[in-house]
Structures are given as C-alpha cells and as structure tokens.
Symmetry: C2
Subunit: 255 residues, 2 copies
DNA sequence: TATTTGCTGTGAAATATTTCACAAGTCATT
DNA sequence: AATGACTTGTGAAATATTTCACAGCAAATA
C-alpha cells in the first residue's frame, strides 16, 4: 500500500499553523466573553425561527384587532396560522410576560408586548427605490400608511417619471439617495428596481447607512458590511420553494 | 397548607382519558409506521432549512450561469450568499451526488442536479389572480417567461379592466377561476388582490385543486386542506422582521 | 360549594440542524 | 516526483429548536 508520507507532513504543518491561528482566536474570544459577561450582557436570545413566527403573529393580531376580536387562545392561533399551539406558547414565553386572561391572550396586550420586545414601538423611516409598477403599488399600500413605518421617500432614476407620479410621498432622483437617506434618517429600504440595477442601488443605500433592505429584484443582494440585514423576496425563488416542498411534502405552511 | 384534593382526582380522571386516547393514537401510528417501513418508504428527508437554502442557491446559480461563470466553490458561495461553506457543502451532500471538478462545483451540473432532486424539471402551469399594479408587474416579469414555470392565466374581478391589459398571457374574469384552473391543469397560483378578497380567492383556488399559493395580499391565508402550501409575502411582515432582527442583532441575512 | 373544563407558562426530553474536523481528491508549481 | 494550495463530502459533536407533560390558575357548570 502506497502512503503519501510527504503529503501528511505537509498536512501536519498546516494543522500546526491552524492551531496557532485558533489559539489567537480563542484568546480574543475569551477576552471578549469575559468583557461581555462582566458587563452582564446576558441578552436573553430569542431563536430566529421564533422571531419570524412572532412577526407573523403580530401581523395576524393586527388583523384580529381590526375585526374587533379581543381575546385569542393558542389553540385558535394554531388553527389559523398553522403554528402548533405548543410552539405559540413557547414563542410567547420567550417574551417574559403574561397577558393571559379568560379564554386566552388579550390581543391588545399581547400585541403591545410583542411590539415592545421586538422593537416595533419607535416609528422608523423607510424609503422605496424604483417607482415602476411594483414600486408605485407599494407606495399606494394602504396598510403601510397606518403602520409604525413612515414612508419618507421614493427614488427613481428616471427624472421625467418622477413628475408624473401622484403620491403624498416625496420623490427624488436616484442620485440623491445618499443625501436624502442621511438627512431624513431613513433606516429601512425597499428595492423595486430591475435586476441589473439592484446591487448598485443596495451599495448606495448601505453606504448611506441603511440598516435593512427588502429586495424585490430577482437577484440575491450581497453585503460586505455586517449589521445590515437583507431580505430577498424573489418570486421565482418562492415558486421554487413551493415546488420543492410539494415534492418533499413536508409541512403545509411556509411564511 | 390547603390541598385541592378533589381537583387532583379530577385531574387524574382526565389523564386516564388522555392516556386511553393516546393508546388509540399510538396503535394507529404503529400500524402506519409498519406499513410505511414494509413499503420501504425511506425517503431520505432533506431538512426544510436546507431546502430553502438550496432554492436560493438554485436562483443564484441561474444568475451565475447567465453571467458566463462555469465553476464555483463553496467558499465563493459563502461570500456571495452569506451561507457558511460548511453549510453549503452539507446541503449539497443531501442530494447524494457529486459534481465537483477542479476549482469547485460545475455550475451547470449542480444546477441540473438540484433541479432534478427538488422537482424543477417538469414545467408547471401557474396563474395570477388580481391584475392591479402588482399583478401586472408580475405579468411583465421577464424572468418568469424564461423559467421552468409557464404563466398560463391571469384573473381579475373587474371585467372592464381585462380588455385594457396588454399581455400575451390569456386573462379571464375571476368567476372562471375554477374552470380555467382545472382545464389548464394549473398547479401554483400567485395572489395579488386586495386584502379583503384574498381569503375567498384562495378558497376558490384550493377548491379547484391548486397545490401551492404565493400570497402578496397583506393577510395570512388559511387553509383547511392538507397538502396545500402557502407562502405569505407580507411586506409589513418583512419590515417587522428586519426591525426585530436589527434589534436582536443576530445573523445578517434572511432569505 | 364541588367539579369540571380550558387555558397558559415552562423546565426537561426529544429531535433537528449546524458546525467541525479531516480523509481524500485534483491541479499547479517547483 | 515532491510539494503545496486548493477542493469536496461526510460521520460525529455541538448546538438550536421543537415538542411534551404537567403544575397552576381562572372561569364555567352542576
């Protein structure tokens, strides 16, 4: 049997280097950990899937409230949202609160508690880049106006188009993105431009200090900057997912 | 110390009933399990998060292919998609294939393998309900035309509007949903109607045998029928999610 | 008042998913 | 051919998430 001995020596050397590197990392990590602990930064982490579910729940509660319902039980939520009642209760328990009354949760209370924990209380300024059909459709979205988000600006690269748009939202040419975003303190953005323009728009937005992007363009937006969150809503991707789930036939709902 | 003894007796009785119920369920379950095993239904399950990532990857590979790239490594994918390279490799390993060449995966091969495993090979007929700004924007989506999905029909309740829409996709009034969906063998649907009409439209679609729905209306669609997959794309929900993630400051990307 | 029902909240157990470490392979360079 | 710098693929370990079971209430009912 032939053994590549020198290959192994090489491997060994590399491992030593890796080890050294890891020692350095570990040292760094320890220091950070100790600092964090000493500052008592024990942020009780909510699992990400739970955060997603809570967002859906929040939207749902909003709907219920409009319809005039005041109370809802975890069992009812299970029926409507296809989230197991165990799961619902657990998710809510992460919030460390209690808003149970007779017949389940008090919707108003629960909603405000979720809002407080997830940070929906402070109104945020948002903007839309790309005022084509999709962009203007979002501009006209009735519920955004009623929400905790303030649609502060719209952008489009076609200056002639800007004048034809009838909306109460102030609109600007795309080259003003950076200055307007900074001036108006806009934190979230919605991208609704064609695929080829999406990445450069995203770069501008991130450069201007945007913290989160919902991207409707059919490309995957990349970001080098950490702390910026991107949510790619690609319709073909969604269709693909449905196809795949149908084939795998796992659970029924995907939010 | 006061003990509610009778309460406990009652609890005990309830537990006995529950136990009996569970025995029945267990019996059923066992029978099913044995049948399944005997039929060798060992469908090697891909975890749902992995399926989601593979869908994103598939879209991304499509993009790369258009740009003319032929090979890509897991490390490069990590940089672009913010999915850890370990994770990428693991996900791909669920597919039980090997398409590695020099310098990483062969894009064309990998793409076709994902398509085969996730069921993207057979073209599917899809339809859009609601031809407002959002609906027509989707109708005009260039990439859908090039994709494995065939946009077979559009529906709107406003009959007068139908005549004004210029598109190659055949359009019908909403009351024909059931018959057209059945006739054309449409399996997936996109809902782009106002919030108040969404649920009734969904019910019609599901009644007609639709298997999956992408819902852009800002409500959570419910389904009693199992085997129907619903993907609610609520823009306010997405914004909420970004806000919550920013507050929690967990990872950076959410697809 | 006695009993029953229905509900939440939550540690602990069970399960699912991600990360890790490394064998094994390919190719370019010395 | 020796070496080094890249890969992937994958069991096993580590971690995260979900599910379960039930105490503990509150309200409804007999």
């Amino acid at each position: 049997m032939y053994i590549n001995l020198l290959g192994y020596v090489c491997l060994f050397k590399r491992k030593c280097k890796n080890l050294l590197h890891k020692c350095r990392i570990l040292l760094n990590y320890s220091v950070k950990k100790i600092t964090a602990l000493s500052k008592n930064m024990t942020k009780s982490k909510i699992p990400k899937p739970a955060i997603e579910r809570l967002c859906t729940l929040y939207r749902f509660l909003d709907m219920c409230e409009e319809e005039g319902t005041t109370c809802i039980s975890s069992a009812q939520i299970e029926k409507q949202l296809h989230i197991g009642s165990h799961n619902v209760r657990k998710d809510i328990s992460y919030l460390n609160l209690s808003c149970s009354g007779s017949g389940g949760y008090n919707i108003k209370k629960l909603k405000s508690q979720i809002a407080a924990q997830l940070g929906f209380t402070q109104p945020q300024n948002i903007c839309i880049v790309g005022l084509g059909r999709l962009g203007t459709a979002i501009l006209a979205h009735e519920r955004i106006a009623e929400s905790e988000y303030n649609l502060a600006a719209g952008f489009d690269s076609n200056i002639n188009k800007l004048e034809t748009i009838r909306t109460r939202v102030p609109v600007f040419p795309s080259y003003e993105i950076e200055s307007v975003v900074r001036q108006m303190n806009i934190t979230l953005a919605i991208i609704a431009v064609p695929a080829d323009a999406a990445q450069s728009v995203a770069d501008k937005l991130i450069g201007a200090g945007i913290r989160g992007i919902v991207n409707f363009a059919p490309v995957v937006i990349k970001t080098g900057k950490s702390g910026v969150f991107i949510n790619n809503v690609d319709i073909l991707g969604k269709l693909n997912l449905l196809t795949a789930l149908l084939k795998a036939n796992s659970s029924e709902i995907y939010q």
